[in-house]
Amino acid sequence: MGKVLMKGNEVIAEAAVHAGCKYFFGYPITPQSELVAYMARRLPEVGGVFLQAESEIAAINMVYGAAGTGARVMTSSSSPGFSLKQEGISYLVGSELPAVICNIVRGGPGLGNIQPAQSDYFQVTKGGGHGDYFLPVLAPSSLQEIVDLTQDAFNIADRYRTPVILMGDGMLGQMMEPVEFLDPKSEELPEKNWATTGTRGDGGPKIITSLELDADGLEQRNKHLQEKIVEMKKNEVRYEMYKTDDADYIIVAFGTVARIAMNAINKARQDGVKVGMIRPISLWPFPEKPFVETRDRVKSYISVEMSAGQMIEDVRLAVNGHAPVDFFGRNGGVVPSQEEIYHKIMAVAGGIEV
């Protein structure tokens, strides 16, 4: 269909439709409302259903119901609304229901504001909900990458019977870039013989539940969930390395921040500082390999985030003391400029005062 110019939020929606998602339940919140509005117009065209839920809680539980029938379903929100979905997400994990949940992060805590942020990193990667779980979190940094990762998100969800989170920030949701929707590569996915669609034809009653009153029984279930986690850690790690081969310093950044950092890196290299970047694309499973490969030869890492410092914990866990890990972040909706990142690089490299 060639390149089109769209807003990030609309790209997520259209990409979901291309991925075969015909059901969307959501509640408006800036800065992701365009996604909801787009679905309202688009889904009826493909014979799907868009429903504005009365709340984020209703939305995630409608997703729970729809996912239970085996349908591809999505919801999306932003930080405060995402917090309200935590119980529902924990239920989806416990009942092993596939779904894609989008969080277009804004400034927090509390009502905060509607400017871009990455300060929900902990919430999305460390199980903002209760109980033992991790779930895949994908963080695109361009609108074209949204197309690919949205497709992946649905496939991962179906393959492992798990909710998957797409995380972006207000900037990614609001900006426009040319994108192209190529037809998705079809994948072998397990049949959804667990879905509750009525027993006609398919034998005895099926049950979808996360309840297991017997402790040993629940531990067994959790063991199964943990095995899936091991599998995902093996198969679903995604990241990009940028000019790290000769790098003395490595910036770690994801999403739109990685793009800004890229400009800063190139400027610093013009000034002779060998700096590169590791861009985690899957925030969970967090890419450890690129750190293990580089941690014994780089002088230091710099975690650059639109937060007060959250991903840095995963970076430190991956580096495990082999090299210092520095931090630069802006938060509350402030987007770090390439200039400040450049200065941070120079400061770390040359000890320049900034």
Binding site: Y23, M62, G198, T199, K206, L211
Partner: protein, 248 residues
């Protein structure tokens, strides 16, 4: 002379013994729903949604596909199911704490949207599963774990009458309140449940049957006393009858 079976267990229920306390009418209501599903021959086309309450394990007792919803969210879950499978029958089975307290938003909006689902609302004026705390349906003066001195209208407010409230919504199709305190009312209750599923079949909109039920354990009464308590204390506050009927 041989024997003809005049009463036996419905195929609408599995053979699993329930975990309910002795004399708890949850079991009776289960039976009625099971019988209706069997008699309408829709067991194979039905997805039930269990809520959080003593009836959480009802997914092991109803002999059809079942899914378990978070506390209070059954109507939202049922909405998700029904919107994907409009030609299936979807029902929720919810207690009064689940539906009228934490879940009042989900039930009202499902009703306001006219979701074509059937809600079985079991009102026993208390939180059974968690050990007898006050529900929005707890009667004035009733002692519970969280109203040790009896519910006081000036502190905890007055009981919520769900049927009356939902009837103000245009998109509701069939709403009736029934009771289980004797055999005759139990039979009435079954007819009402049947009507609700018929309304769903006709696609008329949202249907709900509120069933007055017992909680001998947390009321501190024996099962037979409990039936009387329903008759003498609950029925006056929760008048039985049809509150909305779009089938005529």
């Amino acid at each position: 002379m041989t024997m003809k079976t005049v009463f036996q267990k419905t195929k609408g229920l599995t053979d699993k013994p329930t975990h309910y306390c002795p004399g708890c009418t949850h079991g009776v209501i289960h039976r009625l729903v099971g019988e209706v599903l069997e008699e309408m021959d829709i067991l194979e086309d039905t997805i039930g949604v269990a809520s959080v309450g003593c009836s959480v394990l009802s997914y092991e007792y109803f002999n059809c596909d079942m899914t378990q919803a978070a506390h209070g969210r059954a109507p939202a879950v049922a909405t998700g199911v029904k919107r994907v499978l409009p030609d299936r029958f979807v029902f929720t089975y919810q207690g009064d704490g689940d539906l009228a307290s934490i879940g009042i938003s989900e039930i009202i909006h499902a009703a306001a949207r006219g979701e074509k689902i059937t809600v079985i609302f079991v009102n026993n004026a208390i939180y059974g599963m968690t050990g007898g705390q006050m529900a929005p349906t707890t009667l004035i003066g009733q002692k519970t774990a969280t109203t040790p001195f009896g519910r006081d209208a000036s502190v905890q407010g007055s009981p919520i009458r769900v049927c009356e409230m939902l009837s103000t919504l245009d998109s509701t199709a069939y709403i009736e309140r029934v009771s289980t305190h004797d055999v005759q009312h139990i039979q009435k209750a079954k007819k009402a449940i049947r009507k609700a599923f018929e309304a769903q079949k006709l696609g008329l909109g949202f249907s709900m049957i509120e069933v007055l039920s017992t909680c001998p354990t947390n009321w501190g009464l024996d099962p037979n006393e409990s039936l009387d308590w329903v008759k003498d204390n609950m029925v006056p506050v929760y008048p039985l009858g049809v509150y909305k009927n779009k089938m005529e």
